[in-house]
Amino acid sequence: MTINAAMQDALDRIAARAQDVQRAYTPGALAQFGDVASEHASSRPALNPLSVAPPPDAYFLSTDARGRTVYTRDGCFRIANGTLVGSDGAPVLGRVSRSGANTALRIDPVDDALGRASDVRVERDGTLAYDRVVVDPRSGVRERERVAVGQLALARFPAATKLVAVDADHYLPPPGTVPHVGSAGDGNFAGLEPMRQTGSGIDFDRSLERLEEAYLAFDALQSAHRAQGELGKTAMDLLK
């Protein structure tokens, strides 16, 4: 059986709908089709002190393998080689100083190498912080000292911007779209929700329904195509 353009379109639609279903439980995933987007992207508690949920419509900044800045709502972070990274292992960007550019947030390499950094966490204002123990030489008393590594950057896009998916939970803006970049609690962005995991922006039930509809559409096209083929064959037999 040959596949015509209409059937190819139907197959592509099934694949796209299937992707939405697959990503329905991926933290921070966005729907490719607006009809399966969740009304309210929820977040749930997480035990990881590096896991944070961003404010609505806000994205974390990261980089992909090609060095491009990509955007994600997945705040399930971890520390790898002293650097704050996302669930895909790519560094998450933030500012080390107020006037500095966005860069990867790194724990002091000596503190990291000597295992001094404890209670590493992302705070409500997006600050990556940790504690270390210092000693007062005069009294010999040990004290816990808070160290702020930097502040996570957040981005927001103009309303109705259709982001392009790079992978399951990373996106690029369309060419020419410039996001507003700031930080949590700076007046433009609300605070982060520490120890929370962002849910996906995809309604699982509706995405399943749409996938089923896509399959039905493909079946209908397939039947029509088969009927058309049989009709042609009958006509040819009559002509013979």
């Binding site: 390499p109 000596v110 190498a113 000597l114 030489p137 005069r138 004290e143």
Partner: protein, 240 residues
């Protein structure tokens, strides 16, 4: 492992030294001594300027990372922060003098009196064992790493000479030999009774903290009671 008290001693001395160099009070704390892994040594030495301090009993190294070097040099000029991590020739000279002054405080770690501060840049930290860091909190924020080739061995040396004790006040007592008396006499003693000492000039023993120092005859010299010494005792001797 280097005792924390030894590190505190050096830290306090360095604080005083830096206070003198910077011309204002220096706030300084320290990170506890540790024995870094080879990977940690690499992180400690990465990009740092290392000044080796040679002495007779142990080698030490002062490890200054680029940012800290710039801040220390700036602090010597009364500035709280450095504009650049790249040092000018003048700043490098100032930093080296600062490090020399700090190295002079390592006597408790490297051996008293024999410290040779042959300082040279050296990227090789192989052979060093213990590491601790001094954290300067003000007037500028910088960290200075200290590495030791081995932990200091406790050395038994007379630190206090007999001359140092000459000014100490010593409470003395004289014990007078009261002779032998019947127990019945002792049992009937009452206030107002007079106990006769043995015939002749009574002998007395000069004591300090209960230990006999000298013996002699008790009597009156001028308007004062006095002890005319005729024999010195070693402290263990008892007068005959």
């Amino acid at each position: 492992m280097l005792p924390l008290s030894a590190a505190c001693l050096v830290a306090s001395a360095v604080r005083e030294t830096l206070t003198g160099l910077f011309g204002e009070a220096v706030s300084l704390r320290l990170f506890e001594p540790v024995i870094p892994t080879p990977e940690a040594w690499r992180a400690i030495a990465a990009d740092a300027t290392i000044y080796r301090v040679r002495s007779s009993s142990a080698d030490a190294a002062i490890i200054v990372r680029p940012r800290d070097a710039a801040v220390l040099a700036a602090a010597a000029f009364g500035e709280c922060d450095a504009r650049s991590d790249v040092l000018s020739v003048l700043e490098r000279t100032v930093l080296e003098r600062t490090v020399r002054a700090i190295a002079a405080q390592f006597a408790p770690l490297c051996g008293a009196g024999t410290l040779e501060t042959t300082i040279q840049s050296d990227r090789d930290v192989a052979g060093f064992v213990t590491f601790f860091e001094l954290s300067i909190d003000g007037p500028a924020r910088a960290r200075i790493g200290v590495a030791l080739s081995r932990d200091p061995v406790p050395e038994a040396k007379p630190e206090i000479t007999i001359e140092d004790l000459f000014g100490l006040p010593v409470e003395l007592a004289v014990r007078i030999d009261a002779g032998v008396h019947p127990a019945a006499v002792l049992g009937s003693l009452e206030p107002g009774d007079v106990l006769w000492l043995p015939g002749g000039t009574p002998r007395g023993t000069l004591r300090a903290a209960g230990r006999p120092l000298a013996a002699g005859e008790c009597g009156v010299h001028g308007r004062y009671y006095a002890l005319a010494l005729d024999r010195t005792l070693t402290g263990r001797d008892e007068p005959v």
